[in-house]
Amino acid sequence: MALPTFLQRERNVAPPGYSRWLVPPAALAVHLSIGQVYAFSVFKVPLSKAIGITKQVQGDWTQEQIAIIFSIAIAVLGLSTAVFGKWIERNGPRAAMFFSACCFGAGFLIAAAGVKMHLIWLLYFGYGFVGGIGLGLGYLAPVNTLVKWFPDRPGLATGMAIMGFGGGAMIGSPLAIRLMAHFGAQGGGVGAWQAMVVMGIVYFCFMMFGVFTVRIPAPDWRPAGWTPPVKSVGMITTGHVLSGEALKVPQFYLLWLVLFTNTTAGIGIIEQASPMIQEMFPGRVLAVAAGGFVGLLSLFNMGGRFFWSTISDYLGRKWTFMCFFVLGVALYALAPRAGASHLNSVLMFVGICCVLLSMYGGGFSTLPAYVKDLFGTKDFSAIYGRLLTAWSAAGIAGPLLVNHLRIYRKNQGVPLADAYATVLYVMAGILCFGLLSNLLVRPVAAGHFAPAAEPATPPTAGGPSHG
């Protein structure tokens, strides 16, 4: 099916004079919007009282039923990046971001209908499935575009966009709370479906700003004063590996493991942050303060995305990931010592978790540049999209592991404050696998690169080269 003219790739090539500094705001508009998914938990309690309003009554959804919505969204995110990666490469970021906005906005509206009619499957389908496709398209397209606009500073560029995804929850969470309070006070029940309608429309409009701002560089464009290296240096290649070929090299699977281990360890903390700190410091950290802890982790998760990926432009991607794993193992092993039964230091525990979360975020933002270094940019979306399935897998494995280990230790009679020690030691062990995988990453062998004359993406045939 042909795309509308304004979405066609060849119509979106930047004209001469277009500043590449317009691309990060376009990317941020999309990532700040779809990052709302991390704040979905603010709907959990209101949705569980959709009928009873002030308390849960017969027929209300359980929190476990509601939690599935988030899991579906994250799983579909990872899968859709793998499925649509080549499509994004072929059709360009504007089309991908447009359909992302449509899916993400529509997901909210369908979910709102589900809340209004009290049909949980509509929430699964709407926010989970349709919204999840919006997440995948919206996550991948801006990152892919920034890598091409900033060949001289890929870490900085992707860090800016992916920082937005981490920061999206900081807007989504207070926005949803205020909207629900507003509509709830006007007699609109818990105010959840009305909030979802407003958020669907607002996010759609905000993402459209990104859609109409983004451009792709002309094939022969390069930053002023920057000379592309004529031959591969260390881990940074000048060639391009096509997506089919990438699946045949070990580097792809090693990077998959690197992302999987780093994400599994971090997501375990994120998912359990609030109860974890309350149970590790019983009586000392209460629910409100635990909410503050979650907020602080979000800040470091976001800041780490920018900080670490920028650092990686100087350190190199491999050494940046080495920092994550070496420091991560040490900090996960040290964290239990801060607990109530040892040093009883909230400050130390919070500090350790903040650094760990910064590295969790840093893993996401450094990976695109790592992929670009190893595989080139021609089939970037397809390769990177497939790698993001590691995120889906970690999204399931991390929380499962943390919850099961915690309950297993608790059932053995271990006090809750100490049960987390096992969890944290296991996370340190998982990071050791990541460290090993990262150590094994070597430059891709020359035989796997596409011949220089063979284009991996369709040329902008027939279209004007500058818009």
Binding site: P16, Y18, R20, F209, A224, L286, A289, G292, L296, V350
Partner: protein, 67 residues
């Protein structure tokens, strides 16, 4: 091989087009920075709760008045 064009506007106007205005770039950044700054402010306010002392446990108080 195609001739390489280097029309990065940061270093001045493009040879055959008009460079993006710095005002346009500033507006684009403001559009995304404003909501992000609001979100960060809200989060920082929430985070300060962590460093506030928990309310003291309510214990029955006995007032002994010695006159």
């Amino acid at each position: 091989m195609a001739e390489t064009t280097t029309y990065e506007s940061a270093s001045g106007p493009a040879p055959d087009g008009h460079a993006t205005s710095p005002v346009t770039i500033a507006i684009a950044w403001i559009v995304v920075i404003l909501p992000a700054a609001w979100g960060i402010t809200q989060t920082i306010k929430q985070s300060t709760q962590l460093f506030k002392n928990p309310p003291a446990a309510v214990t029955p108080t006995t007032t002994t008045t010695t006159r």
